[in-house]
Symmetry: C2
Subunit: 247 residues, 2 copies
Amino acid sequence: MFLRNSNERLSASCKTCGLRLNCLSAGLTEPEMDDLISIISTTKKVHKGDKLFYKSSSFKNLYVIRTGSFKSTLTTADGTEQVTEFYFPGEMLGLGGIASGEHFCDLSAMEDSEVCVVPFNDFEKLCHRSFTLNKNLLRYLSAEYVRGNKNMFSLGSFRSEEKIAYFLLDMSHRFESRGYSRTEFILRMTRSDIGSFLGMKPETVSRVLSKFSDANLIEIRQKRVHLIDLKGLRNIFSARRSALSSL
Amino acid sequence: MFLRNSNERLSASCKTCGLRLNCLSAGLTEPEMDDLISIISTTKKVHKGDKLFYKSSSFKNLYVIRTGSFKSTLTTADGTEQVTEFYFPGEMLGLGGIASGEHFCDLSAMEDSEVCVVPFNDFEKLCHRSFTLNKNLLRYLSAEYVRGNKNMFSLGSFRSEEKIAYFLLDMSHRFESRGYSRTEFILRMTRSDIGSFLGMKPETVSRVLSKFSDANLIEIRQKRVHLIDLKGLRNIFSARRSALSSL
DNA sequence: CGCGTCGTTGATTCGTCTCAAGAATCGTGG
DNA sequence: CCACGATTCTTGAGACGAATCAACGACGCG
C-alpha cells in the first residue's frame, strides 16, 4: 500500500528506452528531447496489488510504465470494482486527472512494476514551448478516448464468446506492437479482472476459455496463453462484426 | 444526406452565445477571445438523420453544437449500430479524429441542428499561442475520456433498471447544467438509440420505462419525460452503487 | 389522410448469473 | 525446501433476466 520513491537518475535512458514514449517523443528536435528528459527525473516502484494513485487523490503527475502492468478501476461503496482498462509498458497513466485536477479512478499494479514520473506542470509548460510535443500529447489523449469508445462497443454489443475473442486478439495486438510474440503471452490479470473489464462473471470467462481450448482455438494453462488459430478467433466475430477491423 | 454550408458570419455572437464553449473560452483574455472568434467563421446546418461526418472520413474540423443534438455511432458491416455517446448544445464533436487524422465514428443529427465549424489547423496554432486555450482543450478532451469510462461502468456493471435510471439522471444533470429543467425534458433519441447506448434491446428499454412509470418514479409520454421521484431513481442504484456519486 | 417508423406489450427461448464444491496455484512462514 | 492457508480457477446444476419473435397501437411525416 506504500510507494517507494527511488530517485534514480534516468540518465540518458529515455533516449534508448525503446518504450512507446515514442508516441510522445516522435518528431522532437534534440533540444526538445533533452528538455523532456530533464523533467522526467524520478521513477517509482509499485508492488503487485499496490496502487499508484487513488480516486479523488490530487492529480500532479502523469506516469509512463517502464516495466510491469496496471489496471484502472472504478470502485463502488461495497468494494465491487469495475476494471476500465489494462496498461502495459510504454503507456501513459493518469490522463483522466487533467480534466478536474484529481484522479477519477484507482490505478493498481498487477505485478511488481516501475513507472517514470512526469510532473504535469513542467510537462504542460514544455508542451507550450514545443508545438510537436503538444501535438503528440493531444493525439495520445485522443487515441485513449477512441480506445475507450471501442471498449464500449465490446461491452454493449458483444456476447461473451465474442468479448473473449476480442479481448485475446486485442492483447495479441498490443503485445505484438511492443515487440513480443502475438501468439504466446501471459495474462497478468485474473479471470475476475478480465470478467470485470468485459462485463461478465469470472465463471463465464473460465467457461469460454475452456470452450475455446476444446475447440483448439487456444491452449491455456493458467495465465499462459497460446493462440493457435487466430483466424478462428476472428471468425467468432461473425461476418457482421468485421467493421471493427482495427483488431 | 447533404450538408448545407451557410457562410453566415458569427459576428460577435460567440461572446454572448452562452453555450458551453465557455469551457474553451474560460479565462481567455480579450485578444485571445477575438482570435478564437476569428477562426470560427462558418456554421453548418445538418438535417435530422443526416450525418455531420462519417467514419474514416478525413478529420479537418472540430465542431461545436449551436442548436440541436447528435449521436455518435460505430457501425458494423451488417448495418448494426452501437451508439457511443449523445451530444447537446455547447458540446464539441470530432475529438476522436485528432488521434489518427480521420474520424473513427459516424456523427448523426437526431433533429435539425446547427454547428459551428472550428478548423483544427487554425485552432491548433491558436492553442500554441494561448496557454489558457490549450489547457482548456486538454481538459475538455480529458473530461470526455472520463465520461467514456463512466459509461463503460454502466455498460459493464449495471442491470437494465439501473442503466435506465443512470441514463435518466445523467440526462437530467446535463439539461440542468445547461439551464433547462432537470425534471422535464424531451428525449430526442429513439428507444433503439437509448438501448444501443446502454447495451440493451429497445423492447427492454420500453418495459423498464413502463415499470418506472407504474412505480410513479416518472411520467412518460413518448419522448416527453417528467422525473417525479429523483430520490427513488437514485435508489435504483442500490446502496452499493453510491460511489458513482457524480450523477 | 395514409403509410411507415417507432413504441408498447405478451409469450417463449436462450444466455449468463448464481450458488456450490473441488482442484490447482501462489505466497508465506516455519 | 516443504507445508500450510488463502486465492484463484474450473466445472456443474439450477434460477433468473434479457433477448427474441410476434402482434398491435400510436405518432409523425409527406
